[in-house]
């Protein structure tokens, strides 16, 4: 039996190395985990909010079959709740407010009545409890020996359309539970983090005479103008070291991709086709992928930063209008139908540039703006379906999608 299980795990791992192949993990095969609350402070509403956030995060790490039952037990009780006796793991935590109003959390994981993991957490402002919850899930994922889910702790920035030509730029956690409007008023879109530290960002302002790219340092609140262009001015991507930008500009009504050097402020035109070239994304310092209609319909192409030759990257779909790249993988948005009289479907597909596999990642609605996480472990995207705008997370190697709905407005673009 052990040999069989080892063999199955080995097969699963070997397939999991190619993200374009779906790995179906049966829910039953995951270890069970229950959560017990031992809190001594805070009201029931807050306790329940924290519990729900933690259970959601534990689900997203996709390592456990998480029991959603809310149970309370004394933190120092030597045994788990009677109902949780059969669980592989029991996570027990205690929320406690200290004299300064800070939220302190003691946490341990029990397995067969032994403590296998424990850690304490503290946050001065209990209102940002969701970030503690994400951090706990991050730690447990690491404890279980999985690759770090760095993206879980990162911030998301998105633009929300609240009325025609009116938008807000919002900083949030990946579940949108925490939201802070960082730029209010006006028509500002396409926010993009300026660096890995996420302490500043770029965005397009459409309130000026011509579209203008601005940069905001969120620690000093300083805003500066980077560049303007007639027609279009969008920061499509930032290099991993933050020193180069891929811009879409249209100084003569012709959208093309430009490379912008942050330090020297010099601009280099990368595409020269007479149609539409937009959405440049760095594959690495030397290569980009982008969207172009040079074949008569929008599709995904690549080219070197210092070369003129252009290569078609995607051979499936006749209307592929957005993409994101990570290593050998490209995720792109494809129009599934083109009918003026019906609702249209846009799905996300994943391809590997080294194999012929294509994997469809979404099924219904308008799915767009795919962005790989910083570690390539997950894809974030916008889903608009039945008048509901949500942010979605796809765990590629776990074959799971999670949706986090927006309470109001419509997400225009997103970065994390």
């Amino acid at each position: 039996m052990k040999i069989l299980i080892s063999f199955l795990i080995a097969v699963a791992i070997s397939y999991a190395s190619d993200a374009t192949i779906e790995v179906i993990k049966k829910v039953d095969s995951l270890p069970t985990l229950a959560v017990e609350d031992s809190s001594v402070s805070f009201n029931n509403k807050f306790k329940m909010k924290f519990f729900k956030s933690l259970v959601a995060d534990l689900n997203v790490i996709s390592l456990f079959n998480v029991d959603r039952s809310y149970r309370t037990v004394d933190y120092d009780a030597s045994e788990v709740s009677y109902e949780n006796k059969e669980m592989n793991y029991v996570l027990r935590y205690k929320l406690k407010k200290d004299d300064n109003g800070a939220l302190n959390i003691e946490l341990k994981i029990l397995s067969k009545d032994d403590i296998v993991f424990s850690k304490n957490y503290k946050v001065n402002n209990p209102k940002i409890y969701m970030f503690v919850s994400h951090t706990i899930a991050y730690d447990i994922n690491k404890f279980m020996g999985e690759e770090p889910v760095e993206w879980m702790k990162r911030k998301v920035i998105f633009s929300r359309i609240i009325a025609p030509k009116k938008s807000e730029l919002v900083i949030a956690d990946y579940t949108l539970t925490y939201q802070h409007v960082i730029v209010k008023g006006g028509f500002n879109i396409f926010p993009k983090w300026a660096n890995k530290a996420q302490d500043s960002f770029y965005y397009t302002s459409l309130d000026e005479k011509i579209p203008t790219l601005k940069h905001v340092n969120i620690k000093t609140a300083r805003s500066k103008i980077i560049k303007s262009s007639d027609g279009m001015m969008i920061c499509s991507d930032v290099s991993s070291d933050g020193k180069k930008l891929l811009l879409t500009m249209a100084p003569k009504g012709q959208p093309d991709i430009y490379l912008y050097d942050v330090n020297s402020r010099k601009t280099k035109k990368l595409t020269k086709y007479g149609g539409i070239d937009v959405s440049g994304q760095f594959v690495n310092k030397e290569k980009i992928v982008f969207v172009s209609d040079r074949l008569g319909y929008p599709n995904i192409f690549s080219k070197g930063v210092n070369s003129h030759s252009v290569e078609q990257m995607v051979y499936y779909g006749k209307s592929n209008v957005a993409c994101s790249a990570f290593g050998e993988y490209i995720v792109y948005k494809s129009r599934e139908s083109s009918n003026v009289f019906s609702t249209n479907t846009f799905n996300l597909h994943l391809i590997s540039t080294e194999t012929d596999f294509i994997r469809r990642l979404t099924a219904v609605g308008v799915n767009e703006f795919p962005r790989f996480s910083i570690d390539g472990d997950a894809i974030i995207f916008i889903k608009n379906y039945k008048a509901q705008s949500s942010i979605g997370i796809i765990r590629l190697n776990h074959n799971k999608n999670y949706l986090f709905p927006l309470k109001y407005g419509k997400v225009q673009s997103i970065d994390w």
Partner: protein, 187 residues
């Protein structure tokens, strides 16, 4: 034009400072490790999840149109929106008279102003490509105006993609109203 006023404070740059040294640390854990009363467990780490205060930018939202003179907006009213067919960027036959009229206004009553052409699309997504389609419509109108004698240097363009609908019902009639180019006058 609109100017940004950097006003308030209080926002949240949320930085998770970890005991591991990977993330940008804003506030280091100040608590010394505590012992848990179970022998098998190593000293418990304490991770401080902190929120550093950043600033909010708020914009002066007094928009250009409200500050523009009454004559400017009344001239704008005299210019006709140009509508487009589904997935098309050419000037329809029934829109040609509008172009002639708009060019006449541009070189007549509006001759002392700049023209901003605003390209719009129906609900085809919010990605850059859709903005490029809106721009292509604006560019078609620009070329037509130039052909009618309007000075190219007076014309600027912007695309709003699908973010500026005049109609939000899911019907073809409604979508057709969103595939358009509007005119705005700039001082």
């Amino acid at each position: 034009m609109n100017s940004f006023v950097i006003s308030g404070v209080v926002a949240a740059l949320l930085v998770l400072s970890g005991c591991s040294s990977k993330e940008p640390v804003v506030e280091e854990s100040v608590q010394s490790p505590q012992e848990v009363s179970v022998e098998k467990v190593a000293p418990v780490e304490t991770e401080t999840v902190s929120s550093s205060e950043a600033s909010v930018m708020s914009e002066d939202t007094s928009n250009a149109s409200s500050s523009s003179s009454g004559s400017m907006s009344s001239i704008e009213d005299g210019m006709s929106t140009i509508y487009f067919d589904f997935d098309k960027f050419n000037i329809r036959a029934d829109m040609e008279n509008r172009i002639v009229n708009d060019a006449g206004v541009a070189n007549g009553a509006a001759s002392s102003f700049s023209l901003k052409l605003e390209g719009n699309c129906d609900e085809w997504g919010s990605d850059e490509y859709n903005f490029a389609l809106g721009l292509r419509r604006a560019n078609t109108v620009k070329k037509s105006l130039i052909a009618e004698g309007v000075d190219a240097n007076r014309i600027t363009m912007v695309s709003y993609g699908e973010s500026n609908p005049t109609c939000s019902i899911k019907s073809e009639n409604c979508w057709s109203k969103n595939r358009r180019v509007d005119f705005k006058l700039l001082p």
